[in-house]
């Protein structure tokens, strides 16, 4: 496929009229009977869950429309998604084998910032239904066998701790064992402070796992999603053979707020966004969510067809 620069518009969206009509209906329901959700339907069907507020325009978008649009809003914002949606959108027909992530020692520092780290973990597990930030899937993307690793920002800000590090290592190992590429979708606020220097060590440990892929001549593709920051960017997110990014994702080492307080200046619009990183030579291409499987599939099949077959 053509790798020339192409403007990245969001995927096709349902007609505006349809959304408007639904918006109307939502308004009607909440106006007539504000507490109606307490009486009718299951929790899933409450108005709050049927509609999602567009973070840019404030418009209400029908949830199932948004899902059909891969959680890309009419204005093109790529909303953050978790591993379940990501795997479904990435693998062919949404089919994949889920691989386990290793268990790690929990709360090694016995950390509490007022609320014990153990409680924060529990709350995050309840809220997301995941053990920690990393999910590993094995399947085909555009017919190419690969391992897909997804980092979940909804779980404690996607933070890189021991579980995430071991998850990354396990994903790389699974790729080497199956002789397939690794695709990592990154999303994190940075290191998991509650694990102190043990979390810092994951920068080195994940980097070691990437060397295993290199030795096996297997492609390692990174898809940077919103937001990818701190120690994650400064390790495995910037060590891919190819770096793709979703539109408008914040990608940085030091976050904008940290920089603003250091230099006491407002940062320019678009600073540290995906498009900026392409311009600065750190990301190969911005790819919209709907096009990602196609682009990933093409890149992997080309990289895998090289001289490693003859070797």
């Amino acid at each position: 496929m053509a790798m020339a620069d192409k403007s990245d518009k969001g995927p096709k969206l349902p007609p505006a009229a349809k959304s408007a009509e639904r918006r109307e209906r939502g308004g009607w329901l909440s106006k007539i009977a504000p507490g109606i959700s307490n009486f009718v339907g299951s929790k899933r069907e409450t108005p709050e869950n049927l509609w999602v507020k567009d973070p840019d325009t404030g418009d209400m978008i029908y949830r199932s429309d948004l899902e059909a649009a891969l959680w890309v809003t009419p204005s093109g914002r790529h909303m953050r998604i978790g591993p379940k949606a990501r795997m479904k959108f990435t693998f062919d027909d949404g089919q994949f084998e889920s691989l386990p992530t290793p268990e790690v020692v929990e709360d090694p520092l016995h950390f509490s910032d007022g609320k014990p780290y153990k409680d924060r973990l529990k709350a995050a597990r309840n809220a997301t239904g995941e053990r920690d930030v990393m999910a590993i899937g094995y399947g085909k993307v555009q017919g190419v066998d690969c391992i897909v690793l997804v980092q979940d920002f909804a779980f404690m800000g996607g933070s890189l701790g021991m579980a995430a590090g071991e998850g990354f290592i396990a994903a790389a190992k699974a790729a080497v064992e199956r002789k397939v590429p690794l695709v990592a979708f990154t999303a994190a606020g940075g290191a998991r402070m509650q694990e102190g220097a043990l979390s810092l060590m994951q920068m080195a440990r994940t980097t070691l796992a990437i060397q295993e892929l290199k030795k096996a001549q297997l492609p390692y593709l990174v898809v940077l999603t919103d937001p990818t920051t701190g120690g994650v960017t400064a390790s495995y997110a910037m060590l891919g053979d190819i770096h793709l990014a979703e539109p408008g994702a914040l990608i940085c080492f030091a976050g904008p707020r940290v920089i603003e307080t250091t230099i006491r200046e407002k940062l320019p619009e678009g600073f540290q966004r995906s498009e900026f990183l392409v311009e600065k030579g750190m990301v190969d291409r911005v790819v919209s969510r709907s096009e990602l499987p196609e682009v990933l599939g093409a890149l992997m099949s080309m990289l895998m067809s090289g001289k490693r077959k003859a070797a």
Binding site: A197, A204, T207, A234, S235, T262, F271
Partner: protein, 318 residues
């Protein structure tokens, strides 16, 4: 005028008294030798006691002590024929990381580390030890040269963290750090890192992906500065002391977790109380460490280093 830390106040008071009395004694007013000796002894005991039970925040202050020996001091004390090598060959030279070639106890080595500076002019020159991408890319360049010529690498870690600035971000701060860590991990020559002051976050590990990671007794090594952690956890940087207590940043804690391999003892009142002794002590330790590694082949060095990092978190935690 010596710089005293807040918790050294009682020591400072005693030393002021000693100065006062010895001035009096010298001016011939009275012979106060006996009193002076007693005072000096008391001061020594107090210093020893104070430094034997520093809390994590106090250690943070010691690790940042302005008179604590820095990279330039270790180089001038331990490295002969040092030739500084400058620039990343891509954009510029970042003096937050200083490096070069020299002889350490008869053996040619590549030396590099963070330099914070010791007065206003040098602090600005070295950007307070907070490196930009060029610093890490220079480190990569020097590590590659070390490998090319089969020379061991000695690194000295002392940074609050990588510099958070517009230019640094534009030029790929994250990528530069990641590549420096990667280079350290893959080198086919011995790499020994010593955390001599504060080891702060990614900016530190970029120079600490080593076969052996040593730490001075009162140094700290952490994923984020205590101030940074406090401002994230409680939106209150002034609670840094609480964050320091929680984060397990001291040498004994790090040794228990396998994050560092060896603690290098400091003089009784901290490295700054006797820099010469500190530099000599570290030199002796580094010499032994290098000797022990001289028996490893390039493959073994790479393997040992990888195993060292893979083991962290898998062993010795509860």
């Amino acid at each position: 005028m010596r710089h005293y830390l807040e918790f050294e106040r009682p020591i400072a008071d005693l030393e002021a008294k000693i100065e006062e009395l010895s001035a009096l004694s010298q001016s011939g007013g009275a012979n106060l030798d006996v009193e002076l000796d007693a005072l000096r002894q008391r001061t020594e005991v107090l210093r020893r006691e104070t430094y034997s039970r520093l809390d994590p925040w106090q250690k943070t202050l010691v690790a940042r002590h302005p008179e604590r020996p820095h990279l330039v001091d270790y180089i001038s004390g331990l490295i002969e024929d040092f030739v500084e090598l400058r620039g990343d060959r891509k954009f510029g030279d970042d003096q937050a990381i200083v490096g070069g070639l020299g002889r350490f106890r008869g053996q040619s080595v590549v030396v590099m580390g963070h330099e914070k500076g010791h007065d206003t002019a040098t602090r600005l020159k070295h950007n307070f030890g907070m490196a930009r991408p060029e610093g890490y890319r220079k480190a990569v360049r020097l590590m590659e040269m070390a490998e090319q010529f089969g020379l061991p690498v000695l690194t000295f870690v002392d940074t609050a963290g990588a510099y958070p600035g517009i230019g640094a971000e534009e030029r790929g701060q994250a990528e530069a750090i990641a590549r420096s860590t990667e280079k350290g991990l893959t080198l086919r020559v011995p790499v020994i890192a010593t955390v001599t002051g504060e080891g702060g976050s990614g900016g530190a590990i970029a120079l600490a992906a080593a076969n052996r990671v040593l730490i001075l007794e009162h140094s700290i090594y952490s994923v984020i500065s205590p101030e940074g952690a406090a401002s994230i956890l409680w939106h209150d940087g002034s609670r840094a002391k609480d964050a320091a207590d929680q984060m397990k940043i001291t040498a004994p804690d790090l040794l228990k977790m396998g994050i560092v391999d060896r603690i290098v003892e400091e003089p009784a009142g901290g490295a700054h109380s006797d820099p010469e002794v500190m530099i000599e002590t570290l030199g002796n330790v580094l010499e032994k460490e290098l000797q022990a590694m001289s028996f490893l082949s390039p493959d073994q060095l790479v393997e040992q280093r990888a195993q060292r990092f893979y083991d962290i978190g898998r062993k010795g935690l509860s």
